[in-house]
Amino acid sequence: MTGHKELELQHVRLGTYYVVPMATSDDFEEWRDHARRLLMADVPPDRVAWTEPGGSAGDLFSHGDRRLPAPDRDAAPPRVSRRFIEIARTALLNSDYKRFSLLYRVLWRLQAKPKLIEDMADPDVRAMADMAREVRRDIHKMRAFVRFRVVEEEGRPGEDRSEHYVAWFEPFHHILRHNAGFFTRRFANMRWSILTPRGSLHWDGKTLHEGPPATRADAPGGDPAEDLWRSYYASIFNPARLKIGAMLKEMPRKYWKNMPEAQLIPELIAGAQAREAAMVEKGALDMGERPATLGAIERAIHACARCPIGELHNTAVMGEGPQSVAEGFSGLMIVGEQPGDHEDQQGRPFVGPAGQLLDVHLAEAGIDRSAAYVTNAVKHFKYVPKVVRGSKRRLHQNPSAKEIDVCRWWVESERMIVQPRLVLAMGASAARGMLGKTVSITKARGSPIPLDGIDGVGGSELWVTAHPSYLLRLDGAGREEQERLFRIDLAAVAARLAELA
């Protein structure tokens, strides 16, 4: 900061105008010294013109007296509230050339009315507060939007090459020096420079140096880390919630040119709607209204292609059985995995080898299959075509969790209509279809799991056991053990069903 010239003092003369040429743009102490002197010499604000460094006072004051008046010897030093000092310190950094005179005018008026500074309805006080607010915002935005780029440089003697972090920034107010402390505290152990059109700051890890104004060309042109940063910026943005106004309010366009990520904004906005539409199409299916009758479900599943299984060459298989006590319904709903080859051809659930094994066990446990509603978690047969020993076969494939979840809509709708007292899910897929999550058969079997009502209608309880086709795939001791467990499960279900009835 250059010291101001020794000012010659003389007594104030009536009708004299004074010009105060400020040597600095951001030095509060300089302004305060001038202001104190003017105030003590009783110079009213409309007799003073303040000029920026290098500026002129314009026509009005072209003949003004540059020598400030000498204060009366017995004039008391002016006093002012701390609140004024605080706001004035900040407001002085505003780039509005009127700030020096505005502050002096408020200071002058405060002498007669010391509490004026609290009166936010006063135009001068407001203007001063507004200036301070603009400055605070610019200070904050500089801390936020400065972007360093790293330059590898020869280290000092005895050191390795070192990293130098250099930023180019264009503040709107005279805030560079004010912000030096922030960057020094934060990046104390880094070598950095901040270049601006109004001056520059250089920190070498120990001391801060001020340098002359710089141009964009003095700053490095890029940094490899910016690619990572841009990818991050593009990925963290949620295209389903575009709020351009909110972004612009906090990050006005004027800052964009020095922010590497900002160049992505136009394409991100342009692509957002398309990305969201694609997400919705790939993702959540709007299933529409729940079907109200089994007939409606049956019609709908034949047309269903909401997952890839529905697009295979197969036929949807609807559940079957009574659905009311009048029709002889025992309150039991049996859910399997999905139709197999036989079921697909006959259009009925559990008619193949697994179904036949199930029938044997049901009869043994004393459960009347014809009084139960029998259906599958997945409505279509999932298979891969394969040639086995010269003939074309359709090999069963397990449905994926996603496919089961899509089909839950149908099996839950069936449950809502049939309103079973007890649901028996056979196999992990069926259990997932009922619960929406995968459970282990070993852990889940043997005790009831409460099932919530659907859309508030009809709670129930779920029993889980193995799928009969699993038994078919085993042999020897393993098969015997699993058949034993299966029998126990069915016996428990039969007992529980009797209890509920």
Binding site: M120, F148, R186, I236, A240, A246, L268, D405, G436
Partner: protein, 414 residues
């Protein structure tokens, strides 16, 4: 398995993290790096280093350590049954990325969360390890927010507090029924217990700090949580009530709301249309009313309609004022602060200015106009020495006069 390049993994794991609303970096202790060998500082006020076109602040590097997950929460893009691309970072990679971004002044710090890999304890250990590397090995003094996993052992969860400024546990859904249906692997009691445990650890550490100067810092920015809005049937009243109970019971610093948004490969249990974004906004406004404007939760609920939903076309403060017109007009020259804070269109700053200014002058309407954004909005509810709203508050069409025009609303709904 060979890992993909870091750029690809960053895309995947930032994408997976974007459904967390919080990015705050405020409210922690003041510190800087002058006495250390690393970098970083926090000065109380958070800094948003960028804004995305979704209007959200980018303050922290918000990442998932991995998006592999053994849980199967229906609203979550990373659930086990989803087909999204999976990736993972090592704790060291995340620490390096954080420093590399921090040194270039892109971020205030790190917000790290994770899918559940192997088990909850292992996952929580990895999160804590990342924070440990940053703090102990790199002497990083910026902001760290760790998402904690309620299913992990309390001992590991609480180690997070030693390194992090803020910890959070998501309640996920406003009602327990919603949680049971949409997050079948999570347990409401466990989440609540983890929050209570975290709260007592924070209180205990604060107390120790008062007595012993060298007591360790423990999550100085407190804990926060997040709820998903519009994925279940919870009404605004349910949500506001839940939030208020979280604030009082667990001393949360913030409850974040995240409007459910369509996610790629969504679960079929969510045949959902997304809720209007404005709903999330109205809930935040009601949150503000409770935290800064002295409204009790039941008063916010009273602003809601019979269905428990806050109006979307007007803000909840105006909705309350229109319902309780007998509380108005308020005399700006005499009314206590509490009454002024209830005037639609007067914010906390305007109220502060009115209170100061009226010590020096009797306020006229034009004076109030200078302190507010829109005097038109305030006018029907106040009295000044030169203005009295003659019967205005009795007008049946007052809402129509004050509600923003439909065209303006488009901006939000789009």
């Amino acid at each position: 398995m060979a890992e993909k390049p870091i750029l690809e993994r960053l895309k995947t794991l930032a994408d997976a993290a974007k459904y967390d609303a919080s990015c705050a970096s405020s409210g922690t202790t003041k510190r800087d790096s002058r006495s250390g060998k690393g970098i970083g500082s926090t000065e109380g006020m958070g800094i948003c280093h960028a804004y995305a076109p979704d209007g959200r602040c980018i303050s922290l590097l918000k990442l998932l350590l991995t998006n592999h997950c053994v849980f199967d929460c229906h609203y979550c893009v990373n659930r086990k049954s989803s087909n999204v691309e999976r990736a993972r970072f090592t704790p060291q990679e995340v620490a390096d990325l954080t420093l590399s971004f921090y040194k270039r002044n892109y971020i205030e710090g790190l917000f790290l969360s994770s899918g559940i890999i192997r088990n909850s304890n292992h996952t929580m250990e990895m999160l804590v390890e990342t924070a440990r590397i940053l703090r102990e090995e790199q002497d990083f003094r910026g902001y760290i927010h760790l998402k904690t996993i309620p299913e992990a052992d309390p001992e590991i969860v609480q180690r997070a507090g030693l390194y992090a400024d803020r910890v959070s546990i998501n309640v996920e859904l406003p009602t327990d029924a919603g949680l049971t249906r949409l997050a079948p692997d999570k347990n409401a009691g466990q989440i609540d217990g983890a929050m209570a445990g975290m709260n007592s650890a924070i209180v205990e550490a604060k107390d120790a700090k008062k007595r012993f100067r060298h007591a360790p810092r423990f999550a100085p920015a407190g804990q926060s949580t997040q709820m998903i809005i519009g994925a279940d049937a919870a009404s605004d009243t349910d949500i506001v009530t839940r939030a208020s109970s979280l604030y009082t019971r667990h001393r949360l610093r913030r409850v974040y709301y995240s409007a459910f948004s369509p996610i790629p490969d969504a679960s079929a249990v969510l045949p959902l249309k997304r809720p209007p974004l404005i709903r999330e906004h109205r809930l935040y406004q009601s949150d503000w009313l409770m935290r800064f404007y002295g409204y009790a939760p039941h008063e916010v609920a009273a602003a809601a309609g019979a269905d428990g939903m806050l109006p979307l076309d007007i803000d909840p403060k105006l909705a309350w004022a229109l319902k309780f017109r007998e509380s108005f007009p308020v005399d700006v020259n005499r009314a206590p602060k509490e009454a002024l804070l209830r005037v639609p269109g007067l914010g906390t700053r305007a109220v502060g200015q009115i209170l100061m200014a009226r010590r020096h002058r009797r306020l006229r309407l034009e004076d109030v106009a200078k302190m507010t954004v829109s005097v038109k909005k305030v006018q029907p509810f106040i009295v000044t020495i030169d203005w009295r709203p003659v019967l205005l508050t009795d007008r049946a069409d007052l809402k129509a006069l004050l509600a923003p025009k439909a065209e303006q609303l488009e901006l939000f709904v789009a």
